[in-house]
């Protein structure tokens, strides 16, 4: 372990120990260790593959490797004040790279209550909204969805005030107060609010956010248990402005000297999701969702992206290969424009809980270009040990965006030991 990481790990451990070991009622410690192996196959299609074929090493390609992770949790209460922390220490080594280690707090916050309100301050996971594949109104945490393994996300710096009664909850959050006003995406300083109302079989949620740079957005969500086996949910959000990436119009189809994909914003747009879950007595469960994300690049933008990629390919042999390869690699920047690649998405997940076994298969399908992601997984849960294995395959026609992402296939196996 590098000295700097060792120091940080020791500091994390000391902070967690403080959270749990102070003179307090029932301090609690728990955690997990998780070794994981990832076998990744780089895509033979798409801009990074084309760049690498022309000039190997232009951009790093997905590689296989191992990840070791320790997650430690501690919590305690002292005189009405709660202390809680979750820390992660991670070391990973991928083919062609040196071992990389880092440590971070997922959560570290104090909480308490006064005058009927609950307050928290620190780094905390504040996760909102309904939905599985996409959550339009999860605008505090902005959790990455559809991960291969269940992971604890890294919380955001927040100050929260919450009020609960039997069926209503109010939450106000100042998020990223320590960040710069020009920080983007989930790092943007913002004020956010949620009101929740329980009405029998219906859960109603109302959301509002004001970002220092992107301004206002508002949304609503509902979850409805329609019967013994069926749950339906929907969520929608309107945004005055949202962060995205856009290509410099001056780039055209030719070679440029700097990455033409630059931060941009999209105005007066929305996001919406509808879905439902059906579960039977045998614990077979089918989840179906459809969503639209106005912050993702539009069809015309992806058509232009495909056209530019094809044109750059024709320049091979006519222009310096480094320049063509570099321009092709920059095309991959578009994959980071939004949490969804295409605006319209369909998702289905079939899972089964049978004794200790949890097999599942899911498909994300983009109707605009027939791109798809297929994931199959199998979990086994023991008293302290959990084993997960699975595979994810990206595919579709050659022009489909999902068929051109850097990774073609991921196979993984992970063991989790909890204590």
């Amino acid at each position: 372990m590098p000295p700097a990481l060792f120091r940080r790990a020791a500091w994390l451990a000391a902070a967690l120990a403080l959270a749990g070991a102070v003179h307090a009622a029932e301090p609690e410690f728990s955690g997990q260790l998780r070794p994981q192996w990832l076998e990744q196959r780089a895509n033979q299609r798409g801009p990074l593959a084309a760049a690498d074929a022309l000039q190997p090493g232009t951009a790093p390609l997905p590689a296989s490797g191992a990840i070791g992770e320790a997650e430690l949790r501690a919590s305690a209460h002292v005189a009405g004040v709660g202390l809680a922390g979750v820390a992660t220490l991670q070391s990973q080594r991928f083919a062609g790279s040196a071992t990389q280690s880092r440590a971070w707090f997922n959560e570290l916050y104090v909480s308490g209550d006064a005058a009927g309100w609950q307050f928290s301050a620190g780094k905390k996971i504040v996760a909102w909204d309904v939905g599985y594949g996409f959550r339009p109104n999860d605008f505090v945490e902005q959790e990455v969805r559809r991960t291969l393994l269940s992971v604890t996300p890294e919380g955001r710096p927040v100050l929260t005030a919450e009020h609960f009664d039997a069926s209503t909850a109010w939450t106000f959050v100042l998020v990223n107060p320590n960040k710069r006003h020009d920080d983007r995406g989930a790092d943007e300083p913002a004020l956010a609010a949620r009101v929740y109302r329980r009405d029998g079989a219906l859960d109603w949620h109302g959301f509002a956010r004001w970002g220092v740079r992107t301004g206002a957005s508002a949304g609503a969500a509902v979850a409805w248990v329609a019967g013994e086996s069926l749950e339906l949910h929907a969520s929608a959000r309107y945004l005055v402005r949202a962060d995205t990436l856009a290509i410099d119009p001056a780039a055209g189809g030719g070679l440029v000297a700097t990455n033409p994909w630059q931060p941009a914003s999209v105005s007066h747009t929305g996001q919406a999701l509808v879905g439902g879950t059906w579960t039977n007595e045998q614990q077979l469960s089918l989840l179906v969702e459809a969503w639209w994300d106005g912050t993702a690049l539009g069809d015309s933008q992806w058509n232009a992206w495909n056209a530019r990629g094809a044109h750059l390919g024709t320049l091979a042999g006519l222009a310096p290969p480094q320049a063509v390869a570099g321009n092709l690699a920059w095309q991959a920047s578009a994959f980071g424009a939004s949490s969804n690649l295409r605006r319209t998405n369909l998702f289905a997940r079939l899972s089964w809980q049978y004794d200790k076994w949890q097999p599942a298969i899911d498909v994300l399908y983009a109707p605009a270009d027939a791109g798809r992601i297929v994931t199959a997984s199998l979990g086994w849960q023991g008293d302290r040990v959990r084993i997960d294995a699975g595979a994810r395959l990206y595919g579709g026609p050659s022009s489909a965006v999902l068929a051109q992402v850097p990774t073609r296939r991921v196979v993984y196996v992970a063991g989790t030991w909890t204590f």
Binding site: S167, R198, G227, E231
Partner: protein, 252 residues
């Protein structure tokens, strides 16, 4: 709603009276209240429960620990305490259910079918009262238990949709109304589990110490539900708000 339930219970009781003359002499709600006292001595309780699952050959399969805050008006909060499930919470408010997974900190609405998870469903753990949720008739008097004793057999139907078992055949001691055994049926009227109750003092029972569940629906495994500790506890109203699941209050 309450009137409708009372009416339904009355109609069922009346129907039962035609089917079984014994029912005329027996007050089922009173019998159920008496049987409930052996598991839940107060309306609002904190119960620590240890679940042990055994394979069909008797070998141990898995073990889980739960803290249950069973409150009046069909309200229960279940905190999972085992390493494999630590941080998970299930809130049951009548027919409505929510689940919180610790990695997400996002309360999730679930269906009644989704709470029927595992060898001991959260319904088995959190539902400690029959009197509020079921009505029915005394179907007969027969010998049951070990050693054999005179028992009353109660045929019970759920008063509401959200309970885990829609029909229960329950045998209680005739003299002291302590629960002896039960057949538990799910919505489709399939026999899901058979339960046996172990008392603290068989000759003078005061409390159920264990419930033994034999799965009849899938794997035939036996689940031992041990009530490790019970104490009276009324939780703050806020704890029973689904969004409060994401908070981490001191449990005392």
């Amino acid at each position: 709603m309450k009137t409708t339930q009372c009416l339904a219970a009355g109609v069922l009781a009346a129907l039962g009276a035609f089917a079984a003359p014994l029912a005329v002499a027996q007050d089922v709600p009173t019998l159920l209240k008496a049987a409930d006292k052996y598991r839940m001595s107060s309306e609002n309780m904190q119960v620590d429960t240890l679940i042990s699952v055994f394979n069909t050959d008797g070998s141990p399969d898995k073990e889980r620990r739960y803290t249950v805050f069973a409150q009046a008006k069909h309200q229960s909060l279940v905190l999972m305490q085992s390493p494999a499930e630590k941080g998970q919470k299930v809130l049951m408010l009548g027919d409505d259910f929510w689940l919180l997974m610790p990695s997400s900190q996002r309360p999730l609405r679930i269906t009644p079918m989704q709470k029927l998870l595992g060898d001991a469903s959260t319904g088995d753990i959190a539902t400690l009262s029959w009197a509020e949720d079921y009505s029915g008739t005394v179907a007969g008097e027969e010998g049951c238990g070990e050693p054999a004793q005179k028992c009353l057999r109660l045929s019970l139907a759920a008063n509401r949709k959200g309970v885990t078992y829609q029909r229960i055949e329950l045998w209680i001691g005739k003299a002291k109304s302590e629960p002896i055994k039960a057949d538990l049926y799910v919505q489709s009227d399939k026999l899901a589990k058979q339960a046996r109750f172990v008392m603290d003092k068989p000759s003078a029972p005061t409390a159920v110490t264990e419930m033994l569940l034999r799965d009849q629906l899938t794997n035939k495994k036996e689940t031992q539900v041990r009530y490790v500790s019970r104490r009276e506890k009324t939780v703050p109203e806020a704890w029973l708000n689904p969004m409060f699941l994401a908070r981490n209050p001191a449990l005392d």
